[in-house]
């Protein structure tokens, strides 16, 4: 047996084991997620003050207001609950995506909504990542206003997006969802 043959057979075995492991893992994962109940999904949502989130987001988004960005960075920090609040918001993003994919079980067309949410969640992750980096570098105060408000506004739009999706497909659990997010 040459070294090359030995290397070949070892690599084939290794690639097979990795591919098999990945396939089984994701097969089990998709089976588990297809069995997730509505209650389990809602149970994963971490509490965030909806009104404060809306206020921070609307401060940046709403054109109808005479002036935008009235909120000071300190006020945003307090309303949000600091970095903890941002991390909770980041966790909820995944639940929002799962809420959209929950609808996909019956309406595959909801894929476009889930796709948009995934992109938004990635954006929020990026903002939170920048803030964590700034916290380590001691620049949190200057960076917070810019990144945190942007993340909150994006999160707020994500929640609106999910609610409108549930409304459009006339999902029976809409009222419950409105209470939760």
């Amino acid at each position: 047996m040459t070294l090359r043959s030995l290397l070949f057979i070892v690599l084939v075995g290794l690639v097979f084991a990795v591919l098999m492991g990945v396939a089984v893992r994701y097969l089990l994962r998709s089976r588990r997620s297809s069995q997730t109940t509505w209650e389990e999904l809602l149970g994963r949502l971490v509490h965030l003050d909806r009104e404060k989130i809306a206020a921070i987001a609307m401060d940046a988004i709403d054109d109808s207001q005479h002036e935008t960005f009235l909120l000071e960075p300190d006020a945003i920090w307090t309303m949000l609950g600091g970095m903890d609040g941002l991390e909770r918001l980041e966790k909820n993003c995944q639940v929002l995506i799962d809420l959209a994919t929950y609808v996909q079980r019956w309406h595959p067309e909801a894929l476009v909504v889930a796709e948009q949410l995934r992109l938004n969640a990635r954006e929020i992750e990026w903002h939170v990542g920048r803030l964590k980096g700034a916290a380590q570098a001691g620049n949190l105060q200057t960076a917070f206003a810019s990144y945190a408000q942007r993340a909150v506004a994006t999160y707020y739009l994500m929640t609106r997006h999910v609610l409108e999706l549930y409304e459009q497909v006339s999902f029976p659990e809409l009222a419950e969802l409105k209470q939760a997010i």
């Binding site: 040459t2 070949f8 084939v12 297809s34 995506i97 909504v113 942007r150 999706l165």
Partner: protein, 299 residues
């Protein structure tokens, strides 16, 4: 389009009847290899007959349960398998499996088979990832990476293989088959991962067909790897053993498809056109809002 597999199936059935009436009972040319006219053992003949009949059953299920319209390339592939088996059967009967015409046809049809399999792969990917007819942006990018990574992995492993063979083209054939099986394994496992990540339904007919292909491709990777390791030595004993196992796995996959495609898939609730439009409008509006947020303090 659904007419094509039907025509192929009819042609294949006609060939089978002709073979059964004329060829099988009374070969037109004297066989080269004695009583076992095809040069195949009893077990091998049994496996061949089982795989052929189960492929015919699968084709019948595709046509009778009206799956052919939504899985056109896959139906075409199955019809091709039926026709391929008949052609090879005919050649084996007349010339024997060790003959040159048989080998030439066998290898040529293998490449046609691979080409059709990639068309089937594309069909399945379109069905799984584009239920609206539009590729999700993040999914498309991930898919492009998946294809590139799978090609690189398959190329790397195929280059490393050095099967002990007597002729250059045998090396090429073994390596290219191995390349295809690694590529398909990577692609099918990749779409399994991608669809699980984006939460797409995994119980549709297209997804079931992809699962079967994934299992077949993974086992084929190991078997082709074994062929490349043992090569075509004297007596081709290892090659024959691998062929047995391959046929058994193929029959298993066909059985899985017959059962899955016979059953009804969970029917998606289709959104009315107006609601679908609302979802797209909503998406555009949110994209607009997000664009504004992204730009707001840049100026």
């Amino acid at each position: 389009m659904a007419v094509i597999p039907l025509l192929v199936a009819i042609f294949a059935c006609l060939c089978a009847i002709v073979d059964l009436i004329s060829g099988a009972t009374e070969p037109r040319r004297p066989p080269r290899t004695g009583v076992q006219s095809m040069g195949l053992s009893g077990v091998r003949q049994f496996l061949w007959a089982t795989s052929f009949s189960s492929t015919c059953v699968l084709l019948a299920v595709l046509l009778l349960r009206k799956r052919a319209a939504s899985l056109r390339a896959f139906t075409f592939l199955i019809a091709f398998y039926v026709a391929k088996t008949l052609v090879l059967f005919r050649l084996a009967l007349h010339f024997g499996v060790q003959s040159r015409p048989y080998a030439l046809t066998y290898w040529s049809l293998s490449y046609v088979d691979d080409a059709i399999q990639f068309v089937v792969f594309y069909e399945l990917v379109k069905k799984v990832f584009c239920p609206t007819g539009v590729w999700a942006r993040d999914t498309r990018r991930a898919f492009q990476w998946l294809v590139a990574a799978s090609i690189l992995l398959a190329l790397g492993l195929a280059m490393l293989a050095s099967p002990p063979t007597a002729r250059w083209y045998e090396t090429y054939l073994l390596r290219s088959n191995f390349f295809v099986s690694v590529l398909e394994s990577g692609l099918f496992v990749g779409i399994m991962v991608l669809s699980s990540t984006v939460g797409l339904p995994w119980k549709t007919h297209a997804a079931r067909v992809a699962q079967g292909f994934g299992a077949c491709a993974l086992s084929s990777m190991v078997l082709e790897g074994a062929r490349n390791y043992f090569g075509l030595g004297p007596g081709r004993r290892a090659y024959g053993v691998v062929a047995y196992i391959e046929t058994v796995i193929y029959i298993g996959c066909i059985g899985f498809w017959i059962v899955s495609l016979w059953q009804e898939a969970p029917a998606p609730r289709e959104l009315p056109e107006a609601m679908l439009m609302q979802i797209y409008t909503l998406q555009r509006r949110v994209e607009g809002d997000l664009g504004r947020i992204r730009n707001w303090r840049r100026s």
